[in-house]
Subunit: 292 residues, 4 copies
């Protein structure tokens, strides 16, 4: 299978290299020249433009910064659509808008070109080591056909739904990572400003529940809508009050904690104080207009 690759940045270059090393013929393009020359020296072909890449490929992978870049590379002058043949596939591995993704896919479908969105997580190291997580949206048969390709690039490859679903999934991933980061940030500052060694706090938390299993255990509860405790929401509410008081006495503003404290207060106020604290998902669902 002849593969094209457009976008040879921090992520794209090692990904294209892994495809080369796995034996795929790879045609590449990048806005700046050096990474192209580097990969050509390792056996890749220089496509000269997105159009040139598309003309020589059955599958084209893109790894670009943002939505306008993908639109430009696909539909701009000497863009991919000028070279993609009916039956070929565009796999966009950038992190971009799900809405724009669906729009691009619809325009390509008019020309007989299939599109998968396949954003990744795992960073530069995952790209280099071929251990990325890949969240794929699009036609299931096309996904199965390209699975060997994905398995060169990552080790956790999941088909999550129709085109755009990969980007939705990536958005979910970024939400979880961001809030968890903020949580760890607030916790470690809270410890340090209370005269407690944050190194030991991190060690203690790693061994316990905050280390890892919330997504696993509580995510499952949220999915099932099964809020039998578990840990009662009103107790978690109380514990966060203590955390906030501890922060206040040490001069630590805790914006995220104060927010979730108020949300748990809302969970309690709605009469769900004796449900499991994962009933936060019921509150979020209700705020989103659902039955809760």
């Amino acid at each position: 299978m002849r593969v094209g690759f457009v976008g040879l940045g921090i992520m794209g270059k090692p990904m294209a290299r892994n495809l080369l090393r796995a034996g795929y013929p790879v045609t590449v393009h990048n806005r700046s020249r050096p990474p192209v020359e580097e990969l050509v020296a390792e056996g890749a072909t220089d496509g000269g433009s997105p159009q040139g890449v598309a003309e020589q490929s059955e599958v084209v992978l893109t790894m670009l910064p943002d939505t306008p870049d993908v639109e430009h590379v696909t539909f701009g002058p000497r863009g991919l659509v000028e070279g993609l043949r009916p039956g070929s596939v565009l796999v966009d591995m950038s992190t971009i808008s799900p809405v724009a993704t669906r729009f691009i896919a619809a325009r390509l479908r008019e020309r007989g070109v299939e599109m998968l969105d396949a954003p990744v997580s795992g960073g530069q190291r995952g790209a280099e080591e071929g251990t990325l997580s890949i969240m794929v949206g699009g036609d299931p048969q096309t996904f199965e056909r390209l699975r060997p390709l994905f398995q060169v690039l990552g080790k956790n490859v999941v088909h999550v739904g129709p085109v755009g679903a990969g980007q939705v999934c990536k958005a979910c991933n970024q939400v979880v990572v961001a809030l968890t980061l903020q949580a760890v940030a607030e916790a470690l500052v809270l410890a340090e400003r209370n005269g407690v060694d944050p190194v030991r706090v991190r060690q203690a938390l790693l061994g316990g529940f905050a280390g890892s299993r919330i997504l696993e255990v509580h995510g499952q509860r949220m999915l099932e809508g099964n809020y039998q405790p578990g840990f009662r929401a009103r107790l978690h509410h109380k514990d966060l009050r203590i955390a906030l008081e501890t922060g206040r006495s040490a001069g630590v503003p805790m914006l995220g904690t104060a927010l979730v404290h108020e949300l748990l207060g809302a969970v309690v106020a709605r009469g769900w104080g004796d449900l499991d604290h994962s009933a936060l998902a019921r509150l979020v669902g209700e705020l989103a207009g659902g039955a809760g």
Copy 2:
């Protein structure tokens, strides 16, 4: 070593039972009778009151709902202080205020009684299986002397600092758990309202970075103040913008995500957009009056 145990609720009863099974002589007290009788049938002694428990014990463990309960059991009528001898130890395993803990410890010290605070995480199951995480504050030698006791109750036992430090550490734990819960809640609702199966999203995220390693990897970066990317803050800022737009188009309010999006905006505005996103900890530190 003769052990006392006051507070035989969902957590306390299985903990006391585990001490009995490990061969410790245990004297117990509880406000209501049934759990006392249950444990007496298994070999425990009924202390009759906190004072009675204290009179027959070298170490007394308390597992109570909130700060006023610990104060009442310790200093109230027929309280622990009436029975505790100089050289004995009070180990409070409740989750209560660190400030109140330090105050109680100081009053006990006047009478020659040592105090450890040792709150736990791991829930009812951890209590039953003896797999709790235990975060201990207090005199290190006293901690070492009681370590065998703790190891009956939990498997991740960490001494984190002077008295009160255990409660500070527990507060940190609850912050991390709460914000991560909110994150998972927002992510799963976001997926579902965008027509993407949240079961698959959870599966995809479990395999990737959001599953577990933020505390491990980014926590370490925050501790070192080493914000070499990694993943640049300005890219995470962009990704959250996409997440918020995706939520808006599906009618999903995302309070936590919007908050962290603004905070990452502040990270970028301070000129740290090319640092690792764990620079959120630098922002939190600066908001707390530090150098950032």
Copy 3:
């Protein structure tokens, strides 16, 4: 001065009527016919299309829902640019993006057409009574030339800076109104749930420092539970999105605005988008466990 008016909605129709009554010859256009026929019966001319309006006018006013509407009316088929002559002026009184405004102005300037942005506040009543506040951006001389026109429509007319500045100012206005609404909502629910008569609390606060017209007007609506608009929650939601985008493009984190934006998103998600924005109090009441 011959005046054109495109967009005869709840705001636009009474504004155009006030211009007619002040003696200006007015050519109008609207997507739906009835308001056109109504104004023609009062002396207006039917332009037939934006282009038709532009051909018969020295100054064209637009009053449209959102950014894409202004772009479509200006540059779409039979759009304003097909009819605007060099030296004529487009005054956009809609509430839209400052960034898009500057872009539209630049394209018009290439054709010798001047643009002012002149968003308003004051609602339907202000439009009918000619008492709007008008925040104007653009060339000062053009503003001075059109001042008599603005004074027919509003009584507080302020030139705030170059083109786009009017929209920035409107974004500021919407931020202040939204957070103050949220403040009043939280305060009145707080009083009521503590057993204190919110009618008296409003009265007490009106006499003091917190007194503002929002407390007076919207506080009364909240107390009556009468959420007939007024200003629809979904429009305020949109305006805060614009404010947040404006902040993002300028590197201004807006924590309060982002919070209230999400809360208005929740108001919309619960199906209350066409209620008055003071329905924030219904959301707060529901979060506090009440019927909403």
Copy 4:
């Protein structure tokens, strides 16, 4: 009517002076001597202690920093209860917890002493000029009997409900003031960072719907960067803590208030606690990457 006054700080001293000037015989006490001597020189009597004040008064007014101060002055050594006779009245004009207020009132009632809570707004200037807003909770007949006294101190005197209701109302006031401040801070920084003159934006908004006295007075302080108090940020921080506790005890989630509470916490943590609370604009400016 013989009046006692305990607490001669920035607010209390001019209030006591106004009572003297109105012809009331006033007995005073203060922890530090100078304000006592100042008022004795103007005709007041030195009570020597809270007890001494109470022994010579039918009505005692207190104006103290926080809840523990009121508790100490009332029930501590040589406290008010040692001197208050049955039928006398304690009027606490401090801003303290509504819950603590109800508790103090209950203890006084056992001794036949009536209590009104009567917190104020209007600041030092309102205290000096006798133009405070006074929000009164307690027995309506007692309120009517003392109305002439209140009318010496303020011009907007409202009875809002039973004892504690005045403090609830004051909490509402502080919520509205805080969120409106945050609103004005965000709006002015938003304007300035978008290259729009914030002086004109304030002028434009003053004429419109957002117009309030906060925009007028504090907006001007923010524009000048003149944060001389005024009302100190750390006191407003404290008042919002009370408001949040009041909300928590009544099951009212207060997302906006919690947010601004944390932001005021950040203002305090940065060492600006003794600046005027409009220093929120300095924080917003710093979050936006400026010098603060």
